[in-house]
Amino acid sequence: MSHNAPAIEFRKVCKWFGDFQALAGVDLKIGKGERVVICGPSGSGKSTMVRCINQLEQHQKGDILLNGATVTGNSAHVRSIRRRVGMVFQQFNLYPHMTALQNCVIAQRLVARRQRHEAEDIARAYLERVKIADKADRYPHQLSGGQQQRVAIARALCMQSEAILFDEPTSALDPEMIREVLDVMVGLAQDGLTMVCVTHEMGFARQVADAVVFMDHGRIVEVAAPAEFFKEQKTQRARDFLAQILH
């Protein structure tokens, strides 16, 4: 776990679902405090790639390192990795039987073993941070999609992990709610948090990303700084993709 090791590193990672190869030798280094946006057509493997980092999917070949140490191992090791990497999902996945505050507290209590009052203080601080502290006692079904996703971000932040993974965080949102979630994410990016974000929000990529990763058919096709990437794509596939999502 060297001091200079990248926060997250993929080494020739391969992943199959039955006969279908979802990841075909992915290599990537993400430095500490870096913000990386991963994009690509659906089925290109971008979600799978992110889900391998915290082992919600297990890759079959290659290695993924978190601060220089492999993420694979027995269940206790995988849990310790997950403890260090937060995740925000497309469908929010808030715990339906818990209030916004309880959603933020539960893993702090069970996993980080914090005292109740400490966990609640931290939860309130992060709910404040995502500008939803006034809804702390609401249940998920009483919140709009955008509000739910902001609670989900606060829930991930509460664990004070080393990196946060975003798996298409705005794809399930109505257009008018995308902004409020992106604003929160831009704020986080400016705080120097390591962020890996699967998204088609190219405005967000342009604004905060250090690098844009373009994937297709389970491979990383291009990696570039956003200014570069949006000015000139090296491959036809990336050009087609951008033309498609930007109309």
């Binding site: 310790s80 403890r83 808030l94 039987h97 539960i106 893993a107 069970l110 249940y139 829930r155």
Partner: protein, 222 residues
């Protein structure tokens, strides 16, 4: 033609029997619920051999009469092991019976829509057990709670059979009174009404408890 006075002379015996029926069923219901939580987990996410064992157990209970299960445990298992008391055998049989039905009902509640929430809990570093008990299970139970209560009431009504291994329950009280008073029909009318009323009380009691158990469900109906 009818004479209930002779029957009511035994009212304390009847109430004692009712208490035995209620207490045994509540104990069995509680233990059965806990066993079902385990079995539902094993059946949905457990390793193959364990999920097969659970399936075999559930199907055996659901396809055989309770009275045969009761006799098998009290006489059959009792003949091979220690001599168990009727109350113990009855509680065991009721528990195993309730648990099998509860397992299927809970499994139904788990079936849809818990995958994303499960992943969220795991991604936060919770263990599989924490994820199941704290995150996945409560909403699943809330989805099927009325079916569970309905099944519990059915088991309570079916518990009349435990009188056949001389547990002194409500039905056994009735059989005793009937031999003393020769007022069989009246006795069974009284006891039947008590079974009905108790079943109803269970349902009403649960309806009253429900908002405290599942506050998030109550909120959705405001």
């Amino acid at each position: 033609m009818f004479n209930f006075r002779d029957v009511f002379a035994y009212s304390s015996l009847i109430l004692d029997g009712l208490a035995v029926s209620i207490v045994l069923c509540v104990i069995a219901g509680t233990l059965g619920f806990l066993l079902a939580i385990l079995c539902a987990a094993l059946k949905t996410t457990g390793p193959r051999p364990l999920s097969w064992i659970v399936t075999a157990y559930v199907e055996t209970i659901r396809n055989t009469p309770f009275i045969v299960q009761l006799f098998f445990i009290y006489f059959g298992v009792g003949s091979l092991s220690w001599r168990m008391s009727p109350v113990f055998a009855a509680t065991a049989a009721l528990t195993l019976n309730v648990a099998a039905y509860f397992t299927e009902i809970i499994r139904g509640g788990l079936a849809d829509g818990s995958r994303g929430v499960r992943e969220a809990a795991l991604s936060q570093g919770m263990t599989i057990v924490q994820t199941y008990l704290r995150i996945v299970l409560p909403p699943a139970i809330a989805k099927v709670d009325k079916t569970l209560v309905g099944q519990f009431v059915l088991v309570f009504l079916g518990s009349a059979v435990i009188s056949q291994i001389s547990v002194e329950d409500l039905t056994s009280a009735a059989q005793f009174i009937q031999t003393r008073t020769f007022r069989a029909f009246e006795t069974y009318i009284v006891v039947t009404v008590l079974y009905m009323a108790t079943g109803l009380v269970f349902s009403l009691l649960y309806a009253w408890l429900r908002p405290a158990l599942f506050p998030w469900v109550r909120d959705s109906r405001q």
